[in-house]
């Protein structure tokens, strides 16, 4: 580093305080030449009580910092101004503080209290910037203060401050890794945040602090997928990369299955080898069920695809690598077009994209073939781009396009850029080895290049020809002769060495010329490069063994010369070869085999792309680009053999929140026309799209049985209704008051009028048995306090399932469960339903139990969304009308004041909601009876109230009976 420090000084080094200042320097003012005085002046300005002077001083100081000058001695003077009223001065003081606090820890502590005050400021920008600076001061003593500030900011009302908190997490972690556990808690909390602003930053923090804690993602996976399109572009990159890794651990390989064999058939030959391999790998698993993509896997692919249209190259690349690593082969093709588009961008972007395309084009050649011409090289491209394009072109070459590619290569060979020409010759060599049909054409072309005027071109050709000849030497003795003649002219050592090796190796094909070449070489031996000398010895040895009559003396001569060579490697080689080939009485058994040793058949070299096997690094990563593991690189895990439990991603409460989001949009549209919606890009059409998306998704995840169970349950409901009509408990409960907080908990009530069914056991995990459950919203007859859970068992397996029952119930204290009656037999393909009751004690705690068949046990859990914790209450028509009548005045009032009024009881509230909804009102008129719901117990969500007053309009449109 001594050299570099010297260099530094030359360049106006960073730490030289005493160097003289010149007029153009804004910090010097051009008046004061001495360092001491200059800083005195600044100090004076900082001490004055005029903001403009302070600002001027701070500007000069920042200019010094920018140029790498040391301004640390001003620290006390600057730090005094941390509480300055002028916001620009304040900001510049922050800049200064962050830069020098590490060096002056004690003094830096003086400023902490200002930031602590800032953290409480009503202005969110000030809160956020106080946290930013506080967390950027790298002073270990304040770690506890930082921790506290981060924790507080993580639950701040402003999403901007929460975002800043997410940014602060890695800062604190790098300062004190021991805080990891606490920080993970904060990360977990922020991961659950529903704003797009926070999502990117918290995933970034996750990646830096605890990338291994993949389990934290489960519950947020679907939310992240759905938010992705609205997250800012930098966050998108980070989230997509993280989700790629996540998906690799949670889903099955979509290409490890027989189902895409039809695709293989249509594909080009390139996949054949791979196919073979995969077939072998498949063999033991051949009996496996056909692959069905996990709906969550599909969700990820579907939600990332539009981002290929992003203007940000990093986002496009991130999606491209996600598709490359995760998508079924048939779908990967979509990324090619987007990647080719990026080639128009800045040359640095091109460079990175081409590196990745080069790797991809080895694995999936077909993908880029239609874009072959986009990789043609222009004379104005920088050399590094040219070489990469050449690499891609070579990878794309096959029997059909090779003639076009070779014609293109011919133009490249005439280029002025010699490095590029050399690379082209290499590329031709690779094409020739890979595609047998053109080997002779290529060889002829290369031989013609041997008469090129540029020595580099000739040398490169020789090296490539040597490799090609090794494949079928017997056919090409004339080329070897031609090359032997070249030894007179070519001076490039590598080329000379190659020619000598060729002649030695195939001396039988050129029996007359070989000894002559050796003669010439012996003459010039002393002037040759080492690498050539070694090959001369080699040639001599080989000739001695095949044609000792002519070359005995020459060989002796060469070996003698080598004996006294300066290079020990050459001396060694000479000694070793002499012992081996020249028979003496002392020579060992080896000399008998000398001929076999030297003239053994050597395998032809394989010319491979340097990008082969690079895809074990995650594409688009720094490690992939450098082909070496960079610090902090997270390995891309292999696909799991069997899919881990997909139910871990189920988030019932969150699910309904998502649904609420969509309904909110819908309702708001109805009421207020097109209002800006917070979740999407402020446009009604897209909102609708979102809705459709989430609807689709629902149907994806729930399968068609949704509707069926729906109608079924409504039927059974009508049967039950009369028998339960005068349950005294229900009636008592009806008048239970609700407080205002309950209104909030209604946000989480599943708003769909349809019964939503949830998956209890996925059919893959359940080995054919799938179980879904829904909250049937029926009174549970054995115990009025229990919530009825209707379970639907479907046997998708080929064999029947027996003795379905539950065992080993694990509950929170106070909760109770009434088990469903055992199902003795469930034949293959059949469906059965059963009802169980759970008393959740008005909490959203999950009920865990084991579901047992005669052969297996599955751990399952049921967690109720708040909205399902209801009790049905029966009302006659008259009663209903009476209640409705009481509410007429209410309906005329705008909804918000109503909701903030806590004096209403639950039934009124719900009726009000019904009345608001015109459609439902119409059906209500014809009602003979009506169900309404009493909510069992309050749950407080103060945060929601603060953040989203709009959401109060969310309506629980529960089931309200049916038409006569």
């Amino acid at each position: 580093m001594s050299a570099s420090s010297a260099f530094n000084e030359e360049k106006g080094g960073s730490s030289s305080v005493g160097e003289p200042e010149y007029g153009h320097d804004p910090a010097s003012g051009g008046i004061f030449s001495s360092d001491y005085k200059r800083h005195d002046d600044l100090k004076e300005m900082l001490d004055s009580n005029k903001d403009s002077l302070k600002l001027e001083a701070m500007k000069r100081i920042v200019a010094m910092i920018a140029r790498g000058k040391n301004a640390s001695d001003l620290f006390p003077a600057v730090v005094k101004n941390v509480a300055c009223k002028n916001i620009e001065v304040k900001k510049l003081v922050y800049v200064y503080l962050v830069r020098y606090a590490e060096e002056q820890q004690d003094l830096a502590l003086l400023s902490i209290s200002t930031f602590q005050r800032g953290l409480k400021d009503p202005n969110q920008l000030i809160r956020a910037s106080a946290l930013r600076v506080l967390s950027s001061i790298r002073v270990t003593i304040i770690v506890p203060i930082m921790m506290l500030a981060i924790k507080e900011a993580a639950s701040d009302m402003s999403p901007y401050v929460r975002k800043t908190a997410a940014h602060a997490i890695p800062k604190l972690y790098s300062l004190d890794p021991e805080q990891k556990d606490q920080l993970i808690e904060v990360i977990e909390k922020l991961l659950a945040d529903k704003t797009t602003l926070v999502a990117g930053s918290v995933v970034m923090a996750f990646e830096e602090v605890c990338p291994e804690r993949i389990d934290l993602i489960h519950k947020n996976y679907r939310k992240l997928c759905n938010l992705l399109i609205d997250v800012e572009e930098w966050g998108q990159v980070v989230i997509i990369n993280m989700l790629t890794r996540y998906a690799r651990t949670q889903f099955l390989n979509p290409n490890m299955n027989g189902s895409d064999k039809t695709f293989y058939g249509s594909d080009e030959d390139e996949d054949e080898e791979e196919e073979e391999k995969e077939k072998k790998a498949e063999a033991p698993m051949a009996k496996r069920k056909p692959y069905v993509m996990d709906p969550d896997h599909r969700l990820l692919l579907r939600n990332t695809k539009p981002l290929l249209q992003s203007r940000n190259a990093a986002v496009v690349m991130a999606v491209a690598q996600l598709y490359f690593h995760l998508a079924p082969k048939v779908e990967v093709g979509v990324i090619a077009k987007a990647l080719v588009r990026l080639l128009r961008s800045h040359s640095e972007v091109q460079y990175v994209v081409l590196q990745n395309v080069a790797t991809m084009s080895i694995k999936r050649r077909g993908m880029f073939e239609p874009y072959l011409k986009s990789f043609y090289i222009r004379s104005t491209d920088p050399t590094q781009i040219k070489v990469l394009k050449l690499e891609v072109l070579t990878n794309l070459a096959n029997e059909t396009n090779i003639s076009t590619i070779l014609r293109e290569f011919q133009t490249y060979i005439k280029s002025m850029d010699k490095d590029f020409v050399a690379a082209t010759i290499q590329a031709i060599g690779r094409c020739a080895t890979n595609i047998g049909e053109v080997r002779d054409t290529c060889l002829n072309g290369l031989v013609q290049l041997l008469s090129n005027r540029d020595e580099l071109v000739v040398a490169e050709s020789v090296v490539v020809i040597k490799k090609l000849l090794q494949m079928q030497p017997e056919k090409h003795s004339d080329i070897i002769k031609h090359m032997a003649k070249l030894t007179d002219n070519i001076q490039v050592p590598m080329a000379r060495a190659s020619i000598l090796w060729l002649i030695g190796e195939y001396c039988e094909h050129v029996p007359k010329i070989a000894p002559d070449v050796l003669r010439k070489m012996a003459k010039s031996f002393t002037n040759e490069e080492d690498i050539v000398k070694l090959q001369i010895i080699n040639l001599a040895a080989k000739l001695y063994l095949t044609n000792s009559k002519q070359t005995k003396l020459l060989t002796q001569y060469v070996l003698n010369l080598a004996k006294y060579d300066q290079n020990y490697d050459i001396r060694d080689r000479a000694r070793f070869i002499r012992q081996l080939i020249v028979p003496t009485e002392k020579s060992g058994a080896l000399s008998k085999y000398a001929k076999k040793l030297f003239l053994a058949l050597k395998p032809a070299p394989v010319l491979e792309s340097p990008f082969k096997d690079r895809d074990h690094f995650q594409l688009g990563s720094l490690s992939h680009l450098l082909n070496a593991k960079a610090g902090g690189y997270q390995e891309l895990p292999d696909w799991p053999e069997a899919a881990p439990d997909p139910s871990v991603r189920n988030v019932e409460v969150k699910d309904s929140v998502r649904a609420v989001g969509t309904v909110t949009c819908r309702d708001r549209e109805r009421w207020k026309g097109a209002r800006v919606c917070s979740r999407t890009r402020a446009n009604p059409p897209q909102e609708r799209k979102h809705q459709r998306k989430s609807d689709q998704q629902k149907s994806d995840s729930e399968s068609e049985s949704d509707e069926e169970s729906d109608s079924e349950s409504s039927q059974s409901e009508s049967d039950d209704s009369d028998s339960e009509a005068d349950d005294p408990v229900c009636n008592n409960r009806k008048h239970k008051c609700i407080d205002s907080s309950l209104v909030l908990c209604l946000q989480n009530i599943s708003p769909c009028s349809a019964l939503k069914s949830y998956e209890l056991l996925h059919r893959i995990r359940g080995e054919g048995l799938s179980v879904e459950y829904c909250f049937s919203r029926q009174p549970f007859s054995p115990d009025g306090n229990m919530v009825a859970v209707q379970m639907q068992f479907t046997n998708n397996a080929t064999s029947e399932a027996k003795n379905l029952h539950m065992e080993d119930v694990k509950l929170q204290s106070g909760m109770r469960v009434k088990e469903f009656p055992e199902i003795e037999l469930l034949p293959a393909g059949e469906t059965a339903t059963a009802v169980m009751g759970i008393d959740f004690c008005d909490s959203t705690q999950a009920a865990n139990f084991q579901l047992c068949t005669h052969t297996r046990k599955f751990f399952v859990s049921i967690q109720p969304p708040v909205g399902e914790l209801m009790r049905p209450v029966f009302l006659t028509e008259n009663e209903f009308k009476k209640e409705q009548g009481e509410l007429i005045s209410v309906t005329c009032r705008p909804p918000t004041p109503f909701l903030s009024d806590s004096r209403f009881n639950s039934i009124r509230f719900i009726l009000f909601c019904i009345a608001q909804n015109r459609k439902l009102q119409i059906c209500l008129r014809g009602l003979y009876s009506l169900y309404t719901y009493d909510i069992l117990g309050p749950e407080t969500h103060h945060r929601h109230r603060k953040n989203s007053p709009k959401n109060e309009k969310t309506l629980p449109r529960g089931k309200k009976g049916k038409k006569p």
């Binding site: 920042v62 900001k91 969110q124 800012e232 992003s310 190259a313 128009r344 986009s374 043609y376 890009r681």
Partner: protein, 418 residues
């Protein structure tokens, strides 16, 4: 992510440094200088350079290297794209992005960098948000600030930061409401010796300058949207609407922005506006070479081809050229061997030509490389792909804006091989 940023000028001086984490000594740039020395051309410096403890990722814009220092794994494109965004922001703020402009505005630059990255992770890169935080320097504002003592720094969180349309600030007001759209297409083509097209594609962009009051919601529809099958959008464009109806619907950012860029790759759609007749030969044994070049319009749909500029990198052996241009002027730089011919407008009645001889180094053998000819040109009022805007509508605001659409075709990387 991004630890530090160094700005290095063409002569190798580090003229600005900024650190977002602990300070990284500027000696780390020595690795960059080494790589720079190895590279023959400035643009051949590898964008990613590994050093023992850091990685250097650099971009070259306006003859300034922006070198980012990173310490651990990060997608290289992420950093590259960010650095370009920094340059774009500087350009936006100062008009130009030169060493002088950066040095003059070093405080603003520092404030900008401070806002753009937090702990190395991008925080605010949207120009509208930044402009609310840090107002661009203008002479008028500087004067007002000196007199009134107000500052360039915003005190409130920019409205865009929290809104669903972060690219637009609220409370925009104009007396003249206007929206201009420029459809600019560039032809990238390689023409071979015989004049046939080897590859040709069109890179198009629609740049907009929108100065509208309030929160206008615009829709832009095309006569022939099927041309646009490979597009990338500004984040404001509603992708789903485009997918379904092929209509661009968006709430525009305030001011200048690139609405979309597209790529027409199918060759048969690309019309080549000019042809080149060339005869460049070097005779064996003589130190003379012939140079003969004629340009003519081809498929221009009746529009004039303007601002034609021909350049060619002649072989190293060429000492000088004695040429005669029938129109315009030519220059030959004997050091770089670059021949440039500023043709101007092509008159179809009298085709421009450049004829004459070249002198080669005495005794040098005939150069075996052929120079390629690069052509720049402009055609006004036409998009070569035939793309046409159908109509532009505005919703959400009451006033009537002034709307304008301009078409232009340019040559991008247009090369003729000889």
């Amino acid at each position: 992510m991004i630890h530090s940023l160094f700005l290095i000028n063409a002569s190798g001086d580090i003229f600005l440094e900024k650190h977002w984490k602990s300070v990284v000594s500027r000696s780390v740039c020595d690795y960059f200088f080494e790589a720079q020395e190895r590279a023959s051309e400035p643009e051949n410096v590898p964008p990613v350079i590994p050093t023992p403890h850091h990685y250097l990722i650099s971009v070259l814009r306006h003859r300034i290297y922006f070198v980012a220092v990173i310490q651990s794994e990060v997608p290289p494109l992420f950093v590259i794209e960010f650095l370009h965004r920094v340059v774009d922001t500087f350009q936006d703020y100062f008009g130009v992005c030169t060493e002088a402009a950066i040095k003059d505005n070093v405080v603003v630059v520092y404030e900008l960098l401070e806002e753009m990255l937090d702990n190395g992770f991008p925080l605010a890169t949207e120009s509208n948000i930044l402009k609310e935080l840090i107002k661009p320097p203008t002479i008028l504002r500087t004067m007002v600030n000196t007199i009134t003592g107000s500052t360039n720094v915003g005190e409130q969180l920019p409205t865009g930061q929290l809104s669903v349309v972060p690219w637009r600030r609220t409370g925009v007001k104009y007396t003249n409401n206007e929206a201009y759209f420029d459809v600019v297409e560039e032809i990238d083509a390689i023409i071979d010796k015989s004049g046939s097209t080897i590859t040709a594609e069109i890179q198009g962009v629609i740049d907009a300058c929108v100065k509208l009051t309030g929160m206008p919601d615009l829709t832009l529809s095309f006569m022939n949207p099927r041309l646009l099958d490979d597009v990338s959008f500004h984040p404001c464009v509603r992708f789903k609407r485009w997918e379904a109806e092929r209509i661009l619907s968006f709430i525009p950012p305030d001011g200048n922005f690139r609405l979309l860029s597209y790529h027409v790759s199918s060759q048969n759609l690309v019309a080549i506006p000019v042809y080149v007749k060339h005869n460049i030969t070097f005779r064996e044994g003589s130190s003379q070479g012939r140079f003969d070049l004629t340009l003519g319009p081809k498929q221009t749909m009746g529009k004039a081809v303007e601002a034609v500029l021909v350049s060619s990198q002649l072989p190293r052996g060429v000492l000088n050229a004695n040429l005669n241009a029938s129109q315009g002027t030519y220059t030959f730089d004997p050091v770089t061997k670059m021949l440039t011919w500023d043709v101007g407008k092509i008159n179809p009645q009298k085709l421009p030509s450049l004829k004459g001889s070249m002198n080669l180094q005495a005794g040098a053998s005939k150069p075996d490389e052929n120079p390629t000819i690069n052509i720049q040109l402009k055609i006004q009022q036409m998009a070569i792909s035939g793309l046409k805007v159908n109509r532009l509508d505005m919703y959400g605001e009451k006033y009537k804006p002034f709307k304008g659409i301009k078409y232009m075709t340019k040559a991008g990387k247009f090369q003729v091989r000889t």
